[in-house]
Each structure stands twice: as C-alpha cells, then as structure tokens.
C-alpha cells in the first residue's frame, strides 16, 4: 500500500479546497523592469559622484587652497592617464588586490573553523571569545611594527597583518551567524539525525550563512585596510609598488595629484569588491530565504 494511489482530484473535494487556499495564501512575486532597477540603483550614486565633482571644482575655482594642496580633478585625471600609458596603473592595482585577496582567503581558511569551534564548544568560547571580539576593535596598524620586526620587510609581513586584521572578523561573523539560528531549526536538524559534523555541514553552516557573510564582508574591509596601512608604513623596493606605496611615493614626491590618485584607487577597489562580490552574494542569500523586502 504505497501512497502513490492518491484519490482523483475533485474540484469540490479537499484537493480543490486546498488549491484555493494555497492560491489565496501564497506570496505573489514578480520581477521589476530593468529600467526601474537602473533608475533606482544606478542613478543615485551617479548623482552623488557628480555632486562631489561639482563641489571639488567649486573649491578649486574659489582657490580655497593652493594647487599643490588641492589639485584640480583634471590633474588627477592626467595622473590616471599617465599611469595607464606607462602601463603601471594595473600593476599597482594588481599588486595590492592579489595580496589582499590571497590574504583574505587565508583569513577565511583560518577564521571559519575557528568561528565554528568558538560557537559550538563552550570551553573555547569562554576561553577566547572575548579576546576575539576585543581584537576586532584593535586597529590592525598596531600590528605593523611587530610584524616588521618579527618577519622583516617582505610579503609574509603583509599577510600576517592582513590575517590579524581579518581572522577575528570572519570568526566573529560566523559565531554571530550561528547564535542567530533559531533553536527550533537546530532541534529539527537533530530529529532528522544531523548531529556532529553532518549537523555542522547541513544545518549550522547554511543556517549561519547570513551572519557569516556579514563577517566576510567586514573581514574583507579589514584585510584591505590593514594591507594599505602595511604598504604605507613598510615600503621597500623589493616589495613592488602597491597602492599603499603609490600613496607614500606621492607624499615623498610632494605630488598631491598622485596621493589623490592612490586614495581614489584604494577606495575604488574597496567599492568594486563589495559591489561585485559581497553585495550580490548577500542579496542572493537574503532573497532566497525571503528575508529581503521586495518593495
């Protein structure tokens, strides 16, 4: 007597009633047209950038500061073109971005199991939980001098600083994500037989994903910031010119337009990574769980 022999579906019977209830009670979803999306998401930042440019031009035009302190946008643009024509622009960006991403991936590999341990093992939480939260408020610049002394002026020093900045964020994000899983889902998982590692894989990690992603996002921001600090403070010819060194070189050459260029590039990379990787990921996770308000 397998359950496959369902009764004929009669519109007046329970099946018909069910269909009606389901239709009345279900969420209606639709897609917003592309033009509306563009108008809502692209237009506002474009307007904001235009406004900043206008204010900048006005300040230059009013000569609130001499040109060596406040270069006009055109001088910074020339700087961009120069670096592009010399072929160094992408080199600068890539030197820093590759360091940042590699460091971030290492932070991920260390922070994730660490967060899982802190969240699930009472003793570990009591032992290093507070330290982990405390480390988040310690500016990672503070790690640059000891890292230089211990590891010397090389890439490992950079990675050490990135890790010290990002691992606590990643771990803390995961802990917060795990703590926010409704206890009912954990119970449901246990009754289904998801305990131990299977529980971690099928219930705990996916359940903690929203908080974990928030931690990753912050972890990336911290990686990037600590890397820039390290590059500015510890520049050496063997390290290659990343964006931090570019900024430091601009200061040494008293070239404000180069300093501006470096600052813009640092900001741009930060925004680009967030916009291209984290925001879509976060939106996808929230939408698939019905946690994103559609209008």
């Amino acid at each position: 007597m397998a359950g496959t022999d369902t009764r004929p579906r009669d519109a007046r019977g329970p099946a018909g009633l069910e269909a009606g209830l389901d239709a009345l009670d279900s969420v209606q979803t639709g897609r917003t047209p592309l033009r509306e999306t563009l108008a809502r998401t692209v237009l506002p930042p474009v307007v904001a950038v235009a406004l900043v440019l206008v204010v900048w031009l006005l300040l230059v035009w009013a000569e609130v500061a001499p040109a060596y302190k406040l270069p006009p946008p055109s001088a910074v643009w020339d700087e961009v073109l120069d670096a592009w024509l010399q072929g160094t622009l992408l080199d600068h960006i890539w030197t820093s971005v590759s360091r940042g991403l590699l460091g971030f991936l290492m932070a991920l590999a260390i922070g994730t199991p660490l967060g899982l341990l802190v969240a699930r093992v009472e003793f570990v939480r009591a032992a290093i939980g507070p330290l982990l939260s405390g480390l988040q408020s310690l500016p990672s610049v503070a790690w640059v001098p000891p890292a230089v002394i211990w590891l010397g002026l090389n890439d490992s020093m950079m990675y050490a600083v990135i890790l010290l900045g990002a691992v606590p964020s990643v771990a803390n994000g995961l802990v917060a994500g795990i703590d926010q899983i409704p206890p009912l889902l954990l119970r449901a998982g246990r009754t289904l037989g998801a305990t131990g590692l299977r529980g971690a894989r099928h219930i705990v990690m996916p359940g903690a994903l929203p908080g974990y992603l928030a931690g990753l996002k912050q972890g990336w921001a911290f990686s990037w910031r600590s890397l820039m600090a390290a590059e500015i403070i510890a520049s050496s010819p063997d390290l290659g010119v990343g964006l931090g060194q570019l900024l430091e070189n601009g200061r040494n050459n008293a070239s404000m337009s180069q300093v501006f260029l470096a600052i813009f590039l640092i900001l741009l990379v930060g925004i680009a990574i967030d916009l291209l990787i984290f925001s879509p990921l976060e939106r996808w996770v929230l939408r698939s769980r019905g946690l994103l308000a559609t209008r």
Binding site: R7, L24, T191, G193, A194, G207, S288, R289
Partner: protein, 265 residues
C-alpha cells in the same frame, strides 16, 4: 521506493508497541521552589500500539510537549523508561523547514540523512510531495508557501524519515480553521494509507476527537494521565459530526474540571 511506507506491522511482527512509556517522571531544576525541583511529569505510563493514532490532550503547563520531547529522544526522563520502535519523526507547531532549501530539498535532506542514495532521493521527494498533495512545489522556497503548504511539506519531511512513529506537537495550532480542517483530512488519509503510529499533542478537544482512536487527557502541574477515551467513531470523520461533538463535550467537561482544580489552591 514503494516499500518505504508499507504498514509498520508487516516489517516488524515481534514489535508490540510503537512507543512504550513506563513510569516516566521529569523534573526541571527550579531554584525558587522548595526542593529546588519542579515536577513536570509524574509517573506517566502509556503504550502506543503499531498503527495506532493517540492524541495527548491537556491544558497549558501539563507537560505534553515535554513528554513528546522525551519520546523523541531530545531529552532524558528523570525516572522511568521510554522505548520506541526506531527513531521517531517529529513535527512541530512551527513548520521548522530550513529556509535555505527548497521544499523538495528539505525533504531530500531528511532522505539523505537517513542514508537514501542520491539518484533515488529526487524521485522519493517527488512522491512524498504528491502524497501531501503538493506536486509541483518541489522548487518552491519556504517563504513562497502558505502556512498550510508549509505544514504539509513539514509532514512530508517527517514521513521521509521512514519512522514507524510520528510525533506531532500541536502541528496545526497556528493555522486558520479551514486550513486546519483540510489538514485533518489529509493526516487521516495519510495515516490510514501508511499504517504509521501517531502520537499527537493538542489542547484542542475537537481536534483530538476528530483524529484519534484514543484520547489521553493529561492533568496539569504535575502532568499525570487523568483519563482515557477510546473513540469508536468510524473514519473519515468530520469535525462537525454530532458524534464528535458529543464526545468533545464530555471530554471538555473533564478538562475544565482539571483546570478548575488548580484555581482552588
């Protein structure tokens, strides 16, 4: 996988009960009380026969959910023993579906954790969805389903565990009356098709009588078995049947008596 939902009794002739609860008591630490313990369940003895549908009925605080947790193995009794025929499936008042999975994948996760091989899972999940009349909902996300549909997916997921005993903790209490009524019909149909044993907790007397072969009334604080009724009304019943109403009136009277007892102290 046509064998998964065959009658429990066929596979296990030696088993005489789906669940056996013997002299079970449960206390929780309560620092404010004399003795430092709050007795929640007091000497409960109850058998659920294979294929039997039993409802546990009681007012708030009678420990019915605690008892269900003990049978589910989520907690241990303070004294007494509980044995079940395999690990029971459990359904909650809230659907407890995993929001990161589709309806179909929720069911497949239960199958996977039970050890069903990959290629069979999809087919079995579709079959279970059809059993709860949700064919076509495989790809639906949890938040896209109505309250009644969610509980039906939760039922399908519980059935996917292929347990002989289904524990239900007020599974329809949060639904509107008409949806609840429909789900009563579905549950009765699925129960008679699969031969599952069901232990169903509720505070709704009519629901208890509508569904069960046996209604067990629990007294509150501490939870004790106060009285039992065998319901002889043939299925399928309707909640508005006069026989259901008649027995409900009798049981409600007893339940009221139990509740009044507490007001006198």
């Amino acid at each position: 996988m046509a064998t998964t939902l065959t009658k429990a009794a066929e596979g296990a002739t030696a088993v005489t009960h789906a669940a056996r609860i013997e002299h079970v008591s449960k206390s929780f630490p309560a620092p404010g009380l004399p003795g430092g313990q709050q007795l929640v369940l007091d000497d409960i003895t109850l058998d659920v026969a294979p294929g039997e549908f039993v409802t546990l009925l009681g007012a708030s605080g009678c420990g019915k959910s605690t008892l269900l947790n003990l049978v589910a193995g989520l907690d241990l009794p303070s004294t007494g023993t509980i044995s079940t025929d395999g690990r029971p499936a459990l359904m909650f008042q809230e659907h407890a579906l995993f929001p990161w999975l589709t309806a179909g994948k929720n069911i497949e996760l239960a199958l996977r954790l039970r050890g069903v091989a990959g290629p069979e899972r999809r087919q079995e999940a579709e079959r279970l969805l059809e059993l709860v009349r949700l064919q076509g909902a495989y790809r639906k996300r949890v938040h896209e389903l109505s309250g009644g549909m969610r509980q039906r997916v939760a039922l399908a997921r519980a059935l996917a565990q292929d347990s002989r005993l289904l524990l239900m903790d007020e599974p329809f209490a949060a639904l509107d009356a008409i949806t609840r009524d429909v789900l009563h019909d579905e549950l009765t149909r699925i129960w008679s098709e699969t031969g599952l044993s069901v232990l169903f907790v509720t505070h709704n007397v009519r629901e208890a009588v509508r569904l069960a072969q046996r209604v067990v009334l629990l007294a509150s604080r501490p939870g004790r078995i106060a009285q039992e009724w065998t319901v002889g009304i043939p299925q399928p019943r309707r909640i508005e049947d006069s026989a259901v109403a008649e027995l409900s009136v009798e049981i409600t009277e007893e339940l009221r008596g139990e509740i009044r007892r507490h007001g006198r102290h």
